[in-house]
């Protein structure tokens, strides 16, 4: 599945947010569209990809990613595995990673937070979740 690039920046509104680039990772077409819209509505530049593998490929070539928001349950590489790889990388470990999941599994949540996730959001993710998160993580 090809990458789905983020939108254009607005003219002077929220100019600080226009510099901030969020990488969204989700194997669900529907969820990628929704999370992209949520992030754009919050005035972030968004790139959405459909797998952890594609996320790592992009991170290799695109240095300016300010936050990664990833689904937990994905085939081949879960969001947790992506989180681990990011945190194990000297180049990437400073990038905040947020996990999303449709399932409220405390052991899963704890594992992700212990591995260094900034936050764990339950789906469906709301605009208020994104606003609160981005204000805190990207402040």
């Amino acid at each position: 599945m090809a990458s789905y690039s983020g939108g254009k920046s607005n003219g002077g509104e929220g100019s600080s947010h226009q510099e901030l680039h969020v990488l969204a990772v989700d194997d669900s077409l529907v969820d990628r569209k929704v999370i992209t819209s949520l992030l754009r509505k919050s005035k972030y530049r968004v790139t959405a990809v459909d797998s952890g593998k594609r996320a790592l490929e992009l991170l290799d070539t695109e240095p300016n990613v300010n936050m990664i928001i990833t689904d937990y349950s994905m085939p081949e590489m879960t969001g947790y595995e992506l989180l681990k790889k990011v945190k194990e990388s000297s180049e990437l470990c400073q990038i905040p990673v947020v996990i999303m999941s449709s399932e409220n599994v405390p052991t899963r949540i704890n594992r992700c937070l212990e591995e260094g996730a900034e936050d764990f959001l339950l789906k469906p993710v709301q605009l208020s979740d994104v606003s609160r998160l981005c204000n805190r993580v990207l402040r």
């Binding site: 939108g7 194997d27 669900s28 077409l29 529907v30 969820d31 569209k33 929704v34 819209s37 949520l38 754009r40 509505k41 349950s73 449709s102 789906k123 469906p124 709301q126 605009l127």
Partner: protein, 151 residues
């Protein structure tokens, strides 16, 4: 064309979708994301949903057809379908997906089969209703058309 009447019909259909439990408050969230930059956002997401869910349901059909039932695989497919249902606010479908997954956990193949038939029916009904809704919206046009004085 009577834009006001078309809008009224669309509003009535929309209300019935909520009143009858087909949709939940997540659909409002999608509507909140629709704006001048993405004027057809809701319809686009819903279209994506029906395309993607049809693919998932075809996979489930194939998996159910096999002699040896792989309940793990069935559960994975249904988890994906349930996730998409949750994302667009397809409440009744989501509930039935949950039941199907419970049947998978119990390795109750007959329960899975019955549940899946129900999922297919609910999916079809929701698609028809939402297609009608968006068609009415398209015919009604933007709000400005609804307020254009008749000649």
């Amino acid at each position: 064309m009577d834009y006001v009447n078309l809008r009224r019909q669309a509003a009535s259909l929309r209300k019935s979708l909520f009143d009858q439990g087909y949709l939940d408050e997540q659909f409002y969230q999608l509507e909140d994301l629709q704006d001048d930059a993405s004027p057809n956002f809701v319809e686009e997401v819903v279209t994506l949903f029906f395309r993607d869910s049809a693919r998932l349901m075809a996979n489930i059909d194939q998996a159910l057809d096999k002699c040896v039932k792989d309940f793990n695989k069935l559960d994975v497919y249904m988890q994906q379908l349930k996730g998409s249902c949750t994302s667009i606010g397809a409440s009744r479908l989501k509930t039935e997906c949950t039941f199907f997954r419970e049947c998978c956990r119990d390795e109750n193949i007959e329960g899975c089969m019955r549940s899946f038939q129900k999922i297919k029916r609910e999916h079809s009904v929701l698609r028809q209703k939402l297609e009608s809704y968006f068609q009415l919206l398209r015919q009604a046009g933007p709000i400005e058309c609804a307020t254009r004085p008749s000649k």
